[in-house]
């Protein structure tokens, strides 16, 4: 079946099967930042933006992205690198496995919430599981990132 969408700013058309997930479609198009970590729609590692909103690409059928815009970490490299530096400075990158989905959701939160409190940050990011930290490093990195961007309580 034919799928036309805008991937990281580039309009393209591809043939996909009826049961292709957005996750598989993106991996097959070279977006290797997108990973499937849990197979239970839970861990947030496969997060991409569909029309600017964070979604679990493992659960979204590729054909539901028909005519829409999809953004992956590959399309946000400069901003991701900027936030990634804060993560690294706080020792929060650890194994890095969860980082792509986590960074996508942090960058979405920055757009959606105005001056988030710690509680609001924790709630927004509750759907991103990290296997090796206690989230404290990530929280410090987010606070510093927001402060230096001028958007934290």
């Amino acid at each position: 079946m034919k799928l036309t969408l805008t991937l990281n700013g580039v309009r393209r058309t591809d043939e996909v099967a009826a049961d292709t997930t957005l996750f598989s479609y993106l991996r097959d198009r070279g977006c290797l930042s997108v990973k499937c970590g849990c197979e239970t729609s839970n861990c947030g590692l496969c997060t991409v933006w569909l029309e600017g909103k964070p979604v679990l690409s493992c659960s979204v059928p590729a054909l539901r992205a028909q005519g829409k815009s999809v953004t992956t970490l590959e399309g946000l490299q400069e901003e991701a690198a900027q936030f990634g530096a804060y993560l690294a400075d706080e020792g929060a990158e650890q194994c890095g496995y969860c980082s792509p989905g986590f960074v996508m959701n942090v960058l979405s939160m920055v757009r959606e919430l105005d001056n988030p409190t710690d509680e609001e940050i924790k709630e927004y990011l509750a759907g991103n599981l990290c296997r090796c930290t206690g989230y404290q490093g990530q929280l410090r990195a987010i606070r510093r990132y927001l402060q230096e961007k001028g958007g934290a309580k």
Partner: protein, 254 residues
């Protein structure tokens, strides 16, 4: 993960209904639950071309299209204006923002999951569901019906006439399925309450007062599973009903 041979974006509710009469086909909500199974479908039916992703005020009712996401329910200014934080409380702990941007309220209600926060929250409000063939029927009736092949298109929520309802739930850990869910609303002649996460589908109880609800709740069956024992759930039912009723009665926080 499921497999499917065809994918059809339905052009009308009637087309969706026609396609859904075949047992090998399925309506696709947000896809979050369907993907956990390994079924082989012939055709997946997508309702996203039917403008069912809107929350609208229609007279004294708020109508949710079946494709409204749980995140829309959580953040809707329209729902917040009439119900305060009720709908935010019943959605905010469901996995994460990304999940709630996918999962649909129609998917939750049509599946009538026993653990469902949204079904628990909607049950005591006197809602109606709208189905392509059966038309409008009370959610209370729909929640107890056997599954059939009709297609849910809308959920109609009456604006609260007797004060805002209250929602309570308990989870063992953030983002997990709830151990117990509880919603209480005032009605003309007393109180209506729903309890979910118990055993089977969420149940609707009616009583003249708090004691009447608790007495009925103690008689319900509760499941023993890896999240909690039946006795603990029964105890929680009493605690959550008391908390919710106390808030209804005057803002008291227990």
């Amino acid at each position: 993960m499921y497999t499917a041979r065809n994918y059809v974006v339905a052009a009308s509710p009637e087309e969706a209904w026609e396609l859904n009469q075949k047992k090998a086909n399925a309506i696709l909500g947000g896809g979050c639950w369907l993907r956990l199974g390994r079924r082989r479908y012939d055709t997946l039916i997508d309702l996203s071309g039917l403008s069912l992703d809107e929350i609208r005020l229609e007279g004294d009712t708020i109508s949710l299209g079946a494709m409204v996401t749980l995140r829309q329910v959580e953040t809707s200014p329209l729902l917040r204006e009439s119900f305060g934080d009720y709908f935010s409380r019943c959605t905010r702990h469901i996995v994460g923002v990304q999940f709630r941007n996918c999962a649909t309220v129609g998917g939750s209600v049509a599946a009538r999951f026993g653990f469902s926060d949204p079904v628990t929250a909607l049950l005591p409000l006197g809602c109606q569901v709208e189905l392509v063939k059966a038309g409008r029927i009370p959610l209370e009736q729909y929640a107890a019906m056997p599954y059939d092949r009709d297609v849910l298109t809308h959920i109609h929520i009456p604006l609260p006439k007797y004060g805002r309802p209250v929602y309570e739930s308990v989870r063992n850990t953030q983002t997990d399925l709830p151990v117990l869910t509880c919603a209480v609303a005032r009605e003309e002649n007393g109180l209506a309450a729903a309890l979910g996460g118990r055993s089977g589908r969420p149940s609707l109880l009616r009583g003249a007062d708090r004691d009447g609800l608790v007495e009925q709740a103690m008689k319900l069956s509760y499941v023993d599973n890896l999240r909690a024992g039946a006795d603990y759930r029964r105890h929680l039912a009493k605690v959550l009903l008391n908390r919710a009723c106390a808030q209804l009665e005057g803002g008291e926080q227990l």
